[in-house]
């Protein structure tokens, strides 16, 4: 057993860290966030040059042969920098779905464009009523000769406003909450009948509300089995949760360091506030929470490649629970220990707190996964 990074992986981590450090000064981040896309094209093309946008692709599609560990490393660095680029949406979710279920033809038409930075993808899944249930899909797709017609609404489509292609789940058969009968379709974001309302999210990123009215797509737009997309969706969402766990760890590490720094420098009552034992203990508890999260992010990373999908999902859900809880504690306490300054938009701590809050909400918060995991027999069923 070895938890250390290889020399190559450490180098990889340093390179990303340096790239982001050079582009993510606090004021710069704010400029990206306020721009039309809400992130930086410049950073995106640098990530493409480094091969990061094709991390887990086959060599044939421009891939650099990385695996879950490389994704973990990259996500952790994105977290540290509070980077805004659509990596999760395009590479982890979008390209992940393509990798796992697209035909060779679909892959070779789309993946190289993702790799080069020229194609932004978004996963259009959540609906008004679905909450976090991946099988709850009301949006419909019906056959029309050789084509498909899509109707429905998707909410909080991460980076849906800047996406070129939307990967849309839609019901091709069965009832709203049936596990079977769900298809996955690659829909051109500019197609007739697609309306997108883009907006900022609470953590300063972007998302869109997407309405599909009589949207007609060719047969080749269907990815994989048009009635059996759910297992792939579940797998890719597990991968996304593992990636988010790593990102959250990066956010927490930086936030904790910033808080400890504040305890050292802020003086009240003639002493550094870090000399008060109550605050020392709080900072120590935060440290414990971050390390617990880090351990579970590693577990989740290892589980990405697990072929037993129940085992995989249970452990990644457990990681999501830990990340949610640690993230909440670390985020809230970071604000508290900063005092008034922590409540301001001028302080990075609040942005980290908001990102951690959002990460908990994405794909199910700690309590959601706790209930589901408990109902399915717990983490270690007999």
């Amino acid at each position: 057993m070895d938890f250390d990074l290889s020399e190559e992986q450490s180098l990889f981590k340093d390179v990303i860290g340096r790239l982001l450090a050079g582009h993510y000064a606090f004021a710069q981040r704010d400029t990206y966030a306020r721009s039309e896309t809400g992130w930086s094209r410049e950073v995106w093309s640098r990530l493409a040059e480094m091969g990061l946008l094709a991390l887990s692709f086959d060599a044939a599609h421009g891939g650099s042969g990385g695996g879950p560990v490389e994704t973990m490393i990259a996500m952790e660095e994105f977290g540290r920098a509070l980077a805004l680029e659509p990596y999760l949406a395009t590479v982890v979710l979008g390209a992940g779905l393509l990798r796992h279920c697209a035909s060779a033809e679909q892959k070779s038409s789309l993946l190289p464009r993702v790799a080069s930075g020229g194609l932004i993808l978004a996963f259009a899944h959540t609906e008004r009523q679905s909450r976090y249930d991946l099988h709850d899909v009301a949006c419909r797709a019906r056959r029309d000769g050789g084509a498909w017609i899509l109707d429905g609404e998707k909410m909080v489509v991460l980076h849906g406003d800047s996406a070129d292609v939307l990967l849309v789940t839609a019901r091709t058969a069965g009832g709203r909450r049936d596990r079977g009968g769900i298809g996955l379709f690659a829909v051109d974001a500019g197609a007739d009948g697609v309306t997108r309302r883009g907006y900022a999210t609470q953590d300063g990123r972007r998302a869109a509300h997407v309405a599909l009215a009589n949207v007609r797509v060719d047969a080749v737009a269907a990815l994989g089995d048009p009635e059996g997309a759910l297992p792939v969706v579940e797998r890719v969402v597990d991968e996304a949760m593992a990636a988010l766990a790593a990102e959250a760890v990066g956010v927490m590490l930086a936030l904790h360091a910033q808080t400890v720094d504040h305890l050292r420098t802020r003086r009240q009552f003639g002493a550094a506030i870090g000399s008060f034992q109550a605050l020392q203990h709080r900072a120590a508890d935060m440290y414990v929470a971050v390390e617990q999260a880090r351990s579970m992010a590693m577990l989740a990373t290892m589980m990405v490649a697990e072929s037993d999908h129940l085992l995989r999902h249970r452990h990644i859900a457990a990681a999501k629970i830990q990340i949610g809880r640690s993230g909440r504690f670390v985020g809230q306490q970071a604000i508290q220990l900063h005092g008034g300054i922590g409540m301001t938009a001028e302080c990075k701590a609040g942005h980290a707190f908001k990102r951690l809050t959002t990460i908990d909400t994405l794909f199910g918060d700690a309590d959601h996964h706790l209930c589901r995991l408990a109902a399915s027999g717990g983490l270690e069923p007999d």
Partner: protein
């Protein structure tokens, strides 16, 4: 021991509830239902409605506009007000500077300021904290130098809530630079229109603008605006901070929030049912209700004790109210965030900011995450929760 309200008290509660239900204007009722923040105009309008009824400053002495209600009735009134979702009275006036002027001000100050506070003709803000003086308030440095009939004030205040709306600011200033810490501080009333005052807004993490920096640059304040005696201001500040004991717990408000959460949870889907059918969620909601009931009983013990003891004397028990009250407000905003789930994610400007697009997602959801973020403040201001624990450990436990 008798834990019930008397029949007179129950009749009084019905009267208060009836009045609020009839008098609260419809637009304010709608805002409350959607959890939207009230504007300055909303607070002014509602204060004037209460003042016309004679209920804007019930806890003040009768000769200054108070109602003469005993502490239990005061509590019943405040609780009903908080539960109604109506705007809160502007604390800086009615609970902070008002009582200080009543206790330590001269007759001219009382005549000049008190009626205008009760009617919210003057909007007050609190100029205590400074960049270097937060929890350690006594280390404040803003200085007032006597120059004939004026004090000349120089320095900086920060985190000043609603300074952007304010006509007046009550301030702690250092009048004796030689004296040790608490000794050389005075309590000064500053007209915000005086030349030399600059207000700079500070955006909070929820995107809102409620706090400010206030810079004071050779600001000339007439000596008649000194409250009480020079260099005695620290005692008045302590009186002020320990004074607002029943309001700070906001039990009524949290009760109302919990009811709102229950209503929303009954509509939001979770699995085959609603969030309210989710057992874990119900248990968490109930656990908050239990703690809130405990706090309410603690609060009533304080209130009933007040009837017997000397009024206005700071009581370290108020630290319990601040500590638990703020924690329960935070737990409640957190719970609503979880009910909202993905609906909490879109960031939407408020209607007040000139935003008139249809809401993204359900109309109640827009303020959920901002409210959760914003309420992190309640364990920081008004003496942080760490400071409250220090007070309990020192003043009550003698550690």
């Amino acid at each position: 021991m008798d834990l019930r309200f008397t029949s007179d008290e129950l009749a009084f509660r019905a009267e208060v509830r009836g009045f609020i239900a009839a008098a609260l204007p419809e637009p304010l009722r709608t805002k409350a239902a959607l959890g939207r923040p009230f504007s300055k105009d909303d607070v002014v309008a509602w204060t004037r409605i209460l003042n016309a009824k004679g209920w804007a400053v019930p806890h003040w002495p009768v000769e200054r506009g108070g109602t003469g209600w005993d502490p239990v009735r005061q509590y019943i009134f405040l609780d009903a007000l908080q539960q109604s979702g109506a705007p809160q009275m502007l604390s800086f006036g009615v609970n902070m500077v008002g009582p200080v002027i009543i206790a330590f001000g001269n007759e001219a100050q009382k005549r000049r300021f008190l009626p205008r506070i009760a009617n919210l003709d003057d909007w007050w803000c609190q100029g205590f904290s400074e960049p270097g003086a937060g929890s350690d308030l006594a280390s404040l440095r803003t200085a007032a130098r006597r120059d004939g009939g004026h004090y000349v004030v120089n320095g900086q205040k920060t985190w000043t809530t609603f300074a952007q709306h304010a006509d007046w600011m009550f301030c702690l200033v250092r009048t004796d630079p030689a004296a040790k810490k608490q000794k050389g501080i005075s309590f000064l009333l500053v007209d915000m229109r005086t030349p030399g005052i600059t207000v700079r807004p500070i955006q909070t993490i929820d995107g809102g603008f409620e706090i400010n920096e206030v810079f004071l640059d050779d600001v000339r304040v007439p000596v008649e605006n000194l409250v009480g005696a020079e260099n005695e201001g620290w005692d008045y500040a302590k009186f002020l901070l320990g004074n607002e004991r029943t309001g700070i717990a906001r039990v009524g408000q949290t009760k109302e929030w919990l009811r709102r959460i229950r209503r929303i949870a009954a509509q939001e889907r979770d699995g085959e049912g609603t969030m309210l059918d989710n057992r874990r969620f119900r248990e968490r909601l109930t656990a908050i209700e239990v703690e809130l009931k405990a706090l309410e009983m603690t609060l009533l013990r304080v209130v009933a004790g007040e009837r017997k003891s000397e009024r206005g004397k700071p009581d370290p028990v108020s630290s319990i109210l601040k500590l638990k009250g703020s924690e329960l407000q935070q737990a409640t905003t957190e719970l609503l965030l979880e009910v909202a789930g993905p609906h909490a994610l879109p960031w939407q400007p408020q209607q007040e900011d000139g935003w008139n697009e249809p809401p993204i997602g359900p109309d109640w959801a827009a303020t959920v995450a901002p409210s959760y973020f914003n309420h992190r403040k309640v364990s920081i201001y008004g003496g942080s929760n760490e400071i409250q624990r220090n007070i309990i450990a020192k003043a009550i436990l003698g550690l």
